[in-house]
């Protein structure tokens, strides 16, 4: 009986129902698309902030100078492995450079051995990923090849061009390399020679060893970068901290994975990340709250008018002996159904809108968040029920005799 009446009620008065449905759809469309954009915005900003460079550094424990390169492979097993977007080991050394002119033999230069496009477990990484904004005229050396990239200033100083061959010599080894790229960017790389890690290890006489590594991880901004001692945390605090991608939590897990190394948070990078993301997040949350309020008011205005027009129906049901609870339940169920339908349509349309905006404006950063659909359906239902509650209660307070008698127009 209840459901037959409900279906009949939904079939009739289509214009009003469509208006109410449109209002809920519109509200949830705005809320869902905004929610999807807000969720994606932090990823988008994080991705852009990666341009500042690595936010974590790994170095040998204590006063040791190096640690084994192969320990870096264990990073692919830590809890936050999917947040590690770039890793580049480093072996720093000084070497004498011999360029095209033999009289430059005595020049001592800084040499950085690293990965350029190395496969680490299931992904490829290297220096061009940890320092994505380094401009290179030419290309980066291939890993394990006899190639090098030279800093722009050093190349100018030594009169070395792309395609030239250079010799690097230390007390422990000598390597002949072809210059395949000139690196600029204004940083310390301008005065360095960048070579494959294996070549640097040969030159340094330290096969399989590195002096450190730089890592970029997608993190949640943190105000304090001090290393935290898990022993001082309560179990709940520890769980919350360990399961949040704070730089300090990821650094802690890296420390656990690398027995001979310790990691630090690069304050220059992590600090600016916090400075930028924390206020943005607060503002976005404020905006989301404002939009939800706006949607709620729009739906309330429409549904109130829709329900109030049904005073005759309510009076008739009362006169036929339906209880107030039954009538209220009936109207609220109808409103909830309309809200759920509107929420579903609005949710899907909102996700599509956000996806379109994401593809168009945010370089395809993933904004398709289906998890928002149940939220949209639930919000639509809840908002519709809340909006219908007051007018239903008002209608129930009217006398059926007066309404049906036509004394109230």
């Amino acid at each position: 009986m209840f459901f037959r009446l409900l279906v009949e009620s939904l079939r009739r008065g289509r214009r009003r129902k469509i208006l109410a449905l449109a209002a809920v759809t519109l509200g949830t469309l705005g809320a869902t698309s905004l929610g999807a954009l807000l969720l994606a915005s932090e990823d988008a900003m994080n991705q852009t902030l990666a341009g500042f460079g690595a936010n974590l550094e790994v170095r040998p424990k204590g006063q040791a100078e190096t640690f084994p390169e192969d320990q870096l492979e264990t990073l692919d097993e830590i809890f936050w492995r999917n947040n590690l977007t770039a890793i580049a080991p480093r072996l720093d050394l000084s070497a004498r450079i011999a360029g095209s002119s033999p009289d430059l033999e005595s020049k001592i230069v800084n040499v950085l051995g690293t990965w350029f496009d190395r496969e680490l477990a299931s992904w490829k990484t290297g220096l061009p990923k940890t320092r994505p904004n380094l401009p290179v005229d030419g290309r980066w050396p291939r890993d394990d090849s006899y190639e090098a990239s030279l800093g722009r200033r050093l190349a100018r100083e030594e009169g070395i061009k792309r395609g030239d061959r250079i010799g690097l010599r230390t007390e422990r080894g000598r390597e002949e390399l072809t210059v395949v790229g000139i690196v600029g960017g204004g940083g310390p790389e301008e005065e360095m020679v960048l070579i494959p890690l294996s070549r640097a290890q040969t030159l340094a006489g330290r096969p399989g060893r590195i002096t450190g590594a730089e890592i970029h991880a997608l993190t949640v901004p943190e105000k304090e970068f001090e290393p935290r001692d898990p022993a001082t945390m309560s179990p709940a605090e520890y769980d919350a901290w360990y399961c949040t991608a704070y730089p300090s939590a990821i650094a802690y897990q890296i420390d656990q994975a690398l027995p001979d190394a310790e990691s630090t948070v690069v304050r220059r990078v992590a600090g600016i990340h916090s400075d930028l993301i924390l206020p943005l997040r607060s503002v976005f949350l404020g905006l989301a709250g404002g939009v939800l309020t706006c949607a709620l008011l729009a739906v309330t205005a429409t549904l109130t008018a829709t329900v109030r027009r049904r005073r005759l129906e309510v009076a008739l049901l009362s006169a036929l002996g339906s209880s107030r609870r039954w009538i209220a339940g009936f109207h609220l169920t109808e409103a909830a159904f309309l809200g759920a339908m509107g929420g579903l349509i609005g949710g899907v349309a909102g996700l599509l809108l956000a996806q379109g905006l994401g593809n168009l404006l945010l370089d395809g950063i993933a904004v398709w968040k289906p998890v928002l659909i149940p939220f949209s359906v639930g919000t639509g239902s809840l908002v519709a029920c809340l909006a219908a509650l007051r007018p239903v209660l008002q209608l129930l307070s009217l006398s059926p005799a007066r309404v049906l008698g036509g004394t109230i127009s």
């Binding site: 214009r15 519109l26 509200g27 469309l29 705005g30 698309s33 905004l34 954009l37 988008a44 900003m45 902030l49 341009g51 500042f52 460079g53 170095r59 904004n133 380094l134 401009p135 200033r153 100018r156 960017g185 204004g186 940083g187 301008e190 450190g212 970068f225 630090t264 690069v266 304050r267 220059r268 992590a270 600090g271 600016i272 400075d275 930028l276 206020p279 607060s282 503002v283 976005f284 404020g286 905006l287 404002g290 939009v291 309020t293 706006c294 949607a295 008011l297 729009a298 205005a301 429409t302 008018a305 829709t306 109030r308 027009r309 956000a354 905006l357 404006l361 945010l362 036509g406 127009s409």
Partner: protein, 338 residues
């Protein structure tokens, strides 16, 4: 006559009118708050980016003396658009730790570095990087998280004109980067002034991305706000079919009824938009003060006028579209059994 009907209409139907008012003012408020916050967050982000380090690096000419002096540093600092200029000098190693000389302005250029203790005053004093061996002669410990500085010993360069400066890091106002760069090259002929790609390119990309993000969010909110206004207007007009039928049966023409409805919705919409705009701007100012640390009542007249114009236009368009349909309704059917 029309004025009396208008005031009576709003008075007798105060609850639906209030709901319409709230819906429109919420829409206008959301649009104004978004615009206000977008503008403020843009300003805050620009201010925060000032903390991202140097955006220009100066190195001496290769063919010249090979270093700068403190006098050169002063000339750099006095240039308009230069916020901070920090000299760096590498003078050797001590027990494996690099000895770097700089000034306390380094802490302004890198505000996220943490110095425990104090900055060295005398030439003999120094601070040590956090990863160096603890020693009694250091007056402070510097933690940067970067190997190069955490394993270095830092001394004060201020007041030591004899020390050659190998590099000057400059933070220039981003909007003046190009002009500062050329001025520096003119002022110190031969000096190589290079933008730090890591900082300049990331800042540009961030600015662009932020504008796009806020634009997208504002677009969605504006769409929602406009939809809200249309839905509220349509509901209001739809709920007055009987009233319209009564006016028609009394002999009023459809155009007159449309004018009445338009005027009523226009008055409510105008007041609601003004109230909504002011409330949205207040909310934006409050949120900016609490969340961003910037503040001030700074309403944008352009946003207000645009919000108001869009709202009114939509309300009137709604009335015209619906009124045309209502003009065709049959008063006898609508008023039957009433």
């Amino acid at each position: 006559m029309i004025g009396r009907l208008l005031s009576a209409g709003i008075r007798h139907r105060w609850e639906p009118s209030l709901l319409l008012f709230l819906a429109v003012s919420a829409a206008a408020g959301a649009a104004a708050a978004t615009a206000g916050l977008s503008w403020r967050i843009d300003r805050t982000t620009a201010a925060n980016l000032e903390r991202s380090g140097p955006n220009l690096v100066m190195r001496p000419q290769l063919e010249g003396s090979g270093f700068f002096t403190l006098r050169d540093l002063e000339r750099v600092r006095s240039l308009p658009g230069v916020r901070t200029a920090v000299p760096w000098s590498h003078t050797g190693n001590d027990a494996g730790a690099e000895i770097l000389l700089t000034t306390s302005a380094a802490l302004d250029l890198y505000p996220h570095w943490e110095l425990t203790g104090r900055w060295p005053r005398d030439p003999d004093e120094r601070i040590r990087g956090a990863a160096t061996t603890p020693s009694t002669d250091s007056v402070g410990v510097l933690t940067t998280g970067e190997r190069r500085f955490d394993r270095a010993l830092l001394q004060n360069l201020e007041g030591r004109p004899d020390v050659p400066i190998q590099r000057i890091e400059v933070r220039a106002a981003p909007e003046m980067l190009g002009s500062v760069r050329s001025s520096l090259q003119r002022r110190l002929p031969g000096a190589e002034v290079v933008p730090v790609a890591r900082v300049t390119e990331t800042e540009t990309a961030l600015g662009h991305r932020l504008v796009v993000l806020l634009g997208s969010i504002s677009g969605v909110i504006l769409l929602l706000a406009l939809g809200t206004v249309v839905a509220a207007g349509l509901t209001e007009v739809e709920s007055r079919r009987r009233e319209i039928a009564l006016l028609q049966s009394l002999g009023y023409e459809a155009s007159w009824i449309r004018r009445l409805l338009g005027l009523e919705l226009g008055v409510i919409g105008l007041v609601a938009t003004v109230v909504g705009f002011l409330a949205g701007e207040l909310l934006a100012a409050r949120l900016a003060r609490d969340l961003l640390g910037t503040g001030g009542w700074d309403p944008s007249l352009v946003v207000g006028v645009l919000t108001g114009a869009a709202t009114l236009f939509l309300l009137i368009a709604t009335v015209l579209i619906t009124g045309r349909r209502l003009g065709r309704l049959n008063p006898a059917v609508e008023l039957k059994n009433r």
